[in-house]
């Protein structure tokens, strides 16, 4: 079982990762039956518990930035700790991942995919289409990589 967690909130732009995974879910689950997709609205520290007993997790979250760009494959330590209005009690994804790391509760393998969203501009359909194609391609690559590893 491979877990894909889409993180988001109802706040426009912060919901981009969630929306993209939702759009791709039928195709992903048909192509990769071992993929289990879950959505989390600002899970805060509950994310630590969610990750603690999993071996392989793909985490897809929106990266709010000053401009849009390509989807990035990130390391947990690359995420900037911040107290933002998109987290609960000041505990966002970065804080949950850092705490998981300190407590040795991170999954054996964790892929973090950051979806860039321009915090200053609304997201248009063309960008959504472009990003969903990019996300699908990246997820397919990761899943194929896992399959190859399993064969070895």
């Amino acid at each position: 079982m491979i877990h894909l967690y889409a993180i988001g909130s109802p706040i426009e732009q912060d919901n981009l990762a969630w929306l993209l995974v939702e759009k791709l879910q039928p195709q992903l689950t048909a192509q990769f039956p071992e993929l289990y997709i879950e959505y989390f609205d600002r899970p805060g520290m509950q994310l630590v518990n969610e990750l603690s007993d999993k071996n392989r997790v793909l985490l897809v979250d929106t990266l709010l930035s000053e401009k849009s760009g390509d989807i990035q494959l990130l390391q947990a330590e690359e995420l900037q700790l911040q107290t933002s209005s998109f987290s609960s009690h000041g505990f966002g994804v970065a804080e949950a991942l850092q705490l998981s790391q300190q407590l040795n509760l991170l999954p054996e393998t964790l892929w973090i995919l950051g979806i860039p969203a321009d915090s200053q501009a609304p997201i248009d359909n063309h960008t959504i289409q472009q990003l969903s194609e990019q996300l699908l391609h990246k997820l397919q690559n990761i899943m194929n990589h896992i399959a190859t590893d399993n064969l070895q």
């Binding site: 609205d41 805060g44 509950q46 518990n49 209005s85 009690h89 505990f91 705490l99 300190q102």
Partner: protein
Amino acid sequence: MSDKRQISINVPVLTRVEGEGALELKISNNRIEQLHLKIYEPPRYFEKLLQQRSYQDVPDMVARICGICPVAYQMSAVQALEQAFSFTADPVTTQLRRLLYCGEWIQSHSLHIHLLAAPDFLGYDSAMSMSQQHPELVHRGLALQNAGNEIIRLLGARSVHPVGVSVGSFHTTPSNQKTKNLLLLLKQQLDNSYHLIEWCAALSLPDNSHPVDCVALVNTDEYPMYSGRIQSSSGLDISADEFELHFKEHQVAHSTALHALFNGKPYLVGPLARLNLNMQRIPDHITQLLLNTGISLPSFNMFHSMLARAVEIYIALNDAIHILEDYSQPSKKPEPLIPKAGTGYGCTEAPRGILWHKYTTDSNGLIKQAVIVPPTSQNQARIEQDLRFSLDQHGLDRDEDELRKYSETLIRNYDPCISCATHFLTLKLDR
């Protein structure tokens, strides 16, 4: 140090609380000239959003008011709407509602104690830095929080913003196998919850005891969560429909959340108020444990709030276990509910205190009016009152960093949920 100095402390964003607020403090000639707990998070207009919506939409909509205590909003809402429709939920539904509430208390209190409050008392600035030296504390907090979340997930399909509650009953009831699995997980946390009380009771805490009128539900049969009469330490004893006669909300210029007063005065709601008014419902061995550590109830030391939460986790965990042990999935569907025009009142104990709802419906069950009074709104005037007393007692001649830290710790005793109330802390000190 001269007592003529003028200090202005500004905490522009209060950390380790839910929502956005600030504290402004002006000290002049060693006296507090101005103290404002500023809540600047924008108003959310939930009461207006509910108008003209079907009663069936209400539990899922009000759950969105808070990511930490969605169950409380659902429980007060269904209670009020069922009263408006002259409907009485069946005993299984009532027990499952209490079970769901146990889940929320366990997860919310565990989060508060281990990740929000504990760093204050162990000398760390955050849970992150604390976890490097005290990983066992954080592990315990996460395990207990997870137990609470699993209860919510059982009945609400997911732990954040659960969707299982309906006016009249639940959309579905859990299978016997699922409840057995959860029972095992909860029993594994019993030792953790007992040791948590011991740990909290053993902490060296400040003492800011001073009189305050406590308000909470009181129930002669059980520790109050879902039901009870609204009582105060000053002798009030009313039902939920009499709330508006005694409790008045008013707007203050420095807050987007309404302040509530009881007979014109600040009052305390929340775990310590509940514990003080429901001492008889605390298990004897826990009362003895507290006495052995020098803590007697009622306590008017707000620093005992964390201990009160620990006791409530223990109570909620044991209650949840008992409910699950007695549970058998009903074979019959609940009685259908028929909406009608009316007004209903609901009052339940959210983790942070009493949460009062009032709904007026038309004959089709559409919401004509909704009034929601959350606990943090009720505690705001009390927090300002406490800050004035406790800062004075602590010493206004202390340096600014010390006053700022002490103020934040005092405020966190209340575990304020500003998002709920906005209708919270950036300290601005001016002296």
